[in-house]
């Protein structure tokens, strides 16, 4: 791709992502309503689709208030971090062959770096708000995200062993024969659970559990700063869905009657809807249950998955193949 085409692609992707995140708020409300025997917002425009834009306009026009006792610079930076890191995370996602902003050879690690950095958004937000609910929320987040990051990484080692590369295009190409969710089913389950916890979506939204922490780390946020947290959450949801598709469900691969990018988007949309179904169906666990499940169940399972995958690969492939 030439520089101009690349710049054009970046701008288009950026706007598409922001619009998709806005639209996702409407999709979420419609789907939740659908599963709860309701209709959801169906008034503004066809099927109520303009509700998303009404919400965006509302959140832009709201008063953007900074608490007087807050640490002002940190308070302002915090919501930007999550939006920026999540948008940067999309730079490595291959939408179709050749349609990727940065085809890094350490793309998978870049994804982890970005999710790792997004923790700061929540922790700094909670600390800078100078509010006990926010502080408790961000303490929880810090512990939750660090622990889930550990075996999120471990759950993908199996995929890396099978593909022999951190490059996402290579990983997708390696799935031509069989999508990785078959040999790496355990890895998929662990990664999906970890991804929910990383984006702190329900049922693992302990950092913002409203029945005990008001709104957790963003209690003091309003206006567009709150909007950025919101945006970051939806972008994170889309990013982890895109990563699940890329790593386990063959990315853009699919029967040739549809173009590759459509396959990719369809699969991603499916996983985003699965996220929403989780929200509709499952109650929140207690915090110690959440952490216990991470360390006592998912971590051993992820480690076992690595050992078994490595053993099978070593046993079945020739050393030259393994080395490449």
């Amino acid at each position: 791709m030439s520089v101009v085409a690349m710049l054009f692609f970046i701008v288009v992707l950026l706007f598409a992502l922001l619009a998709a995140a806005a639209l996702l708020t409407w999709v979420e409300r419609r789907l939740l309503a659908w599963w709860q025997d309701r209709y959801g917002p169906n008034r503004a425009g066809p099927f109520g689709i303009l509700q998303a834009f009404a919400d965006v306009i509302k959140i832009l026009l709201k008063e953007d208030w900074i608490p007087p006792l807050a640490d002002k610079p940190v308070f302002v930076i915090a919501p930007a971090i999550v939006a920026v890191t999540m948008l940067l995370g999309f730079a490595i996602v291959p939408l179709a062959p050749g349609l990727v902003i940065a085809d890094l050879n350490v793309a998978l690690l870049f994804f982890f770096a970005m999710t790792g950095l997004s923790v700061y958004s929540v922790t700094f937000a909670g600390w800078a708000s100078n509010n006990n609910y926010s502080l408790l929320g961000s303490l929880r987040t810090a512990a939750q995200m660090i622990s889930y990051e550990v075996f999120m990484l471990l759950s993908l080692v199996g995929v890396v062993i099978l593909a022999g590369s951190f490059r996402l295009t290579d990983i997708v190409d390696a799935q031509r024969g069989m999508w990785f969710f078959v040999p790496q089913f355990v890895g998929l389950v662990v990664f999906f659970l970890a991804a929910i916890a990383e984006t702190h979506r329900l049922p693992f939204d302990l950092p913002e559990a409203e029945h005990e922490l008001v709104a957790g780390y963003h209690t003091e946020y309003s206006g567009m700063k709150f909007g950025l947290f919101f945006l970051g959450e939806y972008l994170g949801m889309m990013l982890s869905s895109a990563m699940i598709v890329t790593l386990f469900f063959g990315g853009w691969l699919g029967p040739p009657f549809l173009p590759p990018i459509v396959w990719f988007l369809l699969k991603t949309a499916f996983f985003v809807c699965l996220y929403l179904l989780l929200r509709a169906a499952l109650p929140r666990p207690r915090y110690d249950q959440l952490m216990g499940y991470a360390w006592k169940f998912l971590l051993p399972v992820a480690l076992l998955n690595i050992v078994v995958t490595g053993a099978i690969v070593v046993a079945t492939r020739s050393p030259a193949e393994v080395g490449s």
Binding site: D71, I77, L104, L109, Y120, A142, F166
Partner: protein, 203 residues
Amino acid sequence: MTTAFYIFGAIAIAATILTITRVNAMHALLYLVVSLLAVAGVFFILGAPFAAMLEIIVYAGAIIVLFVFAVMMLNLGDVSIEQERRWLSPDLWLGPSILSAILLAELVYLLSIGDLGAPPGEPVGAAAVAARLFGPYLLAVELASMLLLAGLVGAYRIGRILDERTAERTSSAEREPVAAGADAPQRVEATAASVFAHDGEGE
């Protein structure tokens, strides 16, 4: 590329200086994160993307978060800021700074006379790093893993001691209503709970 290297380097140095001079622990950590990110950028430009990403994941993404966690738990207030301010008085930092300046001068001199060779042109990928780690540096890796294992066992032991203490406290608290002669259903519950608590300790 060279320009980018110098920009990253300048950011790293500036952020590190700001980390040292901030009186607010949280601001200092924020600058430390920026410094680590800049160093990761330097690694990237020098052809070590794997090291760059690990720098961000491990240092910026995990270790500094733990620092932030600790700072939030300790709830450092104006007192600690006042203390930091006192520590930043010149008579305290002048001595160490002069010594470090001499070291820096020596380092610059050594760098200027020695031929370090060109930086590696080939990017060092993950496979190359792995081959190195489990080849010539295997002993170091094993030593590090032993150290981590010791830390793990230690943490587990400390956690167990704390668990036992809380179990003792709750079980003794639950036994009290029995002594006080509370009504029967309550007593059954309390006894059952203390039986569980005892066996929990024994496991």
